[in-house]
């Protein structure tokens, strides 16, 4: 029995690790969503963290915890000069500016010979274990959970609901938004650093626009109104392709297109019918049942 469990573990280790990594990435988009800002620079921040950590362990022989610390701090530091001009922009413009930032990071890496440009770095030592990844997720969830219901959590919610009104109550909204951008950058950086040392390689094409879109989708599908929603979304959407891979031959569609199609349809269904994500499903069902009862 233990052998079977060990086998199961080995097979699914990668999936479990990715559930954790994707959770961190989803949370990195959530931090700014929680105060109403759509900031899509997390792929760039993850890239910075991944490359910084990989370079530190491989070229400078640094201990892994130190590399992870750098993976958190370097993107966080970059987030400050990025955020100050860019957080003033409304809605869609902020999204576009941060998408642009992500592309600039990716293009910078592609054109940087020291890190092998587009080919990326391989043979990164596998120092990230599952428990480290899950510890990181746990710490992130704890911190975000503690924010909720505190003075700062209320301020963030106020900013999301009605930023001008929040300002008239003395909330320095730009500082809060910047703090959330920095926190998100740190989370994305740590995720990048962990991923690099979990999958032995990093390459710039893993940090493009498509990647940050994935992160946004994890957060929205899970539910961006509560801090644990993005983790639910990440878990669901990381497991889904695994399940679909088994299903694909039965349906007669290639796994690649099938995964993409299901992702798209799930996202569409969520945004149209369950805008607050999977975590709001129980409440939604309750509401529908009440409405039906009232109509009867």
């Amino acid at each position: 029995m233990w052998e079977q469990l060990a086998d199961l573990y080995a097979t699914y280790q990668s999936t479990l690790g990715y559930i954790g990594i994707n959770s961190l990435l989803a949370l990195s988009v959530y931090t700014t969503l929680s105060c109403g800002q759509l900031a899509l620079g997390s792929a760039g921040f993850a890239a910075i963290g991944a490359y910084a950590a990989a370079l530190l362990t491989m070229r400078a022989g640094a201990p892994f915890p130190l590399a992870l610390l750098a993976a958190a701090l370097l993107p966080a530091a970059v987030a400050v000069p990025l955020g100050l001009p860019v957080l003033r922009l409304r809605g869609v413009f902020l999204a576009i500016a941060t998408i642009g930032f992500g592309e600039v990071v990716r293009l910078g890496i592609v054109n940087w010979d020291y890190v092998n440009g587009a080919q990326g770095i391989v043979a990164i030592p596998q120092k990230a274990s599952l428990w480290m990844i899950f510890l990181a997720v746990a710490v992130a969830l704890f911190a975000l959970g503690r924010l909720r219901g505190s003075k700062w959590g209320f301020a963030l919610e106020a900013i999301r609901e009605d930023e001008p009104a929040a300002r008239t109550m003395g909330i320095a909204t730009t500082s809060y938004k910047l703090a959330m951008l920095v926190a998100g950058a740190a989370l994305a950086g740590v995720a990048g650093g962990l991923e690099a040392h979990f999958t032995f390689m990093v390459a710039p094409n893993g940090f493009g626009f498509g990647r940050v879109v994935d992160m946004l989708v994890f957060a929205m599908v899970g539910g961006a109104q509560v801090f644990w929603g993005p983790v639910v979304g990440a878990a669901f959407l990381t497991l889904l392709p695994e399940i679909l891979r088994e299903v694909a031959p039965l349906v007669g569609i290639e796994p690649g297109p099938l995964r993409l199609m299901v992702n798209g349809l799930v996202l569409l269904a969520v945004i149209l019918f369950l805008p607050n994500g999977i975590v709001s499903l129980p409440q939604r069902l309750r509401e529908l049942r009440q409405a039906r009862r009232a109509a009867a």
Binding site: G91, V92, F93, I96, G100, V104, M220
Partner: protein, 291 residues
């Protein structure tokens, strides 16, 4: 130098066509339609498929453009209309369009596979002319010509027809437009038709120009398109055209003088500077849209 200008104009006309579609929908609905690039891509494939069935390109192009327009109308119905009342409709619209883009890409991937497809040899004539010290192919001239015709057609549509007036009214204030008797739903559907038709045209022309069609061909153009509409001013059609040409020309010059790896950096550097220094771009209005 003349060569570069020609190349720049030709690249720019494709960017401009693509960006026009983007900015039209943004101007009318205040929503960024991220499925635009997927329509761009599908139109190209449709043209390819039609040509593969023996339909001449001169007919395949308008048919593909028509297809793109209709796809846009469907897109609006499925992904945008249900969200119209919502408070966060621009973010949810963006995500909804993303979902549709994913679905479109999946369809293309399933039907045509991930590899690059090409138009069969002989689809377009190979003749070239020499002009202003450069070499230009008939195809390049044709693309520029088609683009110009479409710009003029769009301008006429927007300025001189009733539909154009209605679209402009809805762009300014749907509530006021409705009170004035404008069929807002129809105007919005029409905007999406036009927008996606333009994007589709850009897609077919792009596919012909570079003879390279694949499910992810929209990716890089999509982001450049964003840069173009920001530079030109969100919602400004003349701005999109000007900025499209400006980007095309700049990219060609940058590649010629600094090397190909700097090409994409131009659009994003430009995007950044504009957003930080003058968010409304060249010709955009600073006014926020009212409900």
């Amino acid at each position: 130098m003349g060569q570069q200008i020609i190349n720049g104009l030709f690249l720019g006309s494709i960017y401009a066509l693509f960006a026009l579609g983007y900015t039209l929908v943004f101007g009318v609905l205040d929503i960024l339609n991220l499925a635009h690039a997927a329509v761009f891509m599908l139109a190209s494939f449709v043209a390819l498929a039609l040509v593969g069935h023996g339909i001449p390109i001169l007919l395949a192009l308008p048919l593909a453009v028509l297809f793109a327009g209709l796809l846009g109308v469907a897109l609006e119905r499925i992904a945008f209309r249900p969200l119209r009342g919502r408070a966060d409709s621009n973010i949810s619209g963006l995500i909804s369009s993303l979902a549709m883009a994913t679905v479109f890409e999946a369809v293309a991937l399933e039907i045509w596979g991930p590899n690059i497809s090409r138009f069969p040899f002989g689809t377009v004539p190979e003749t070239q002319f020499s002009l202003f010290g450069g070499v230009v192919s008939k195809l390049q001239l044709a693309i520029i010509a088609v683009a110009v015709v479409l710009f003029l057609a769009l301008t006429w549509l927007v300025k001189a027809t009733r539909l154009g007036r209605e679209v402009r009214a809805v762009a300014e204030s749907p509530r006021a437009a409705r009170i004035l008797g404008v069929d807002v739903d129809r105007a919005i559907s029409a905007s999406f038709f036009i927008s996606s038709a333009l994007g589709g045209a850009a897609g077919v022309l792009f596919g012909l120009a570079f003879n390279s069609i694949s499910p992810d061909m929209g990716r890089s153009v999509e982001l450049k398109g964003l840069a173009v509409i920001i530079l030109g001013g969100m919602g400004s059609m003349p701005g999109a055209v000007m900025a499209g040409f400006a980007l095309g020309l700049t990219e060609v010059f940058v590649v010629a003088n600094l090397g190909a790896s700097w090409r994409d950096a131009v659009s994003f550097a430009g995007l950044f500077l504009v957003l930080v220094l003058r968010p409304r771009g060249l010709l955009g209005t600073a006014a926020l849209r009212e409900a």
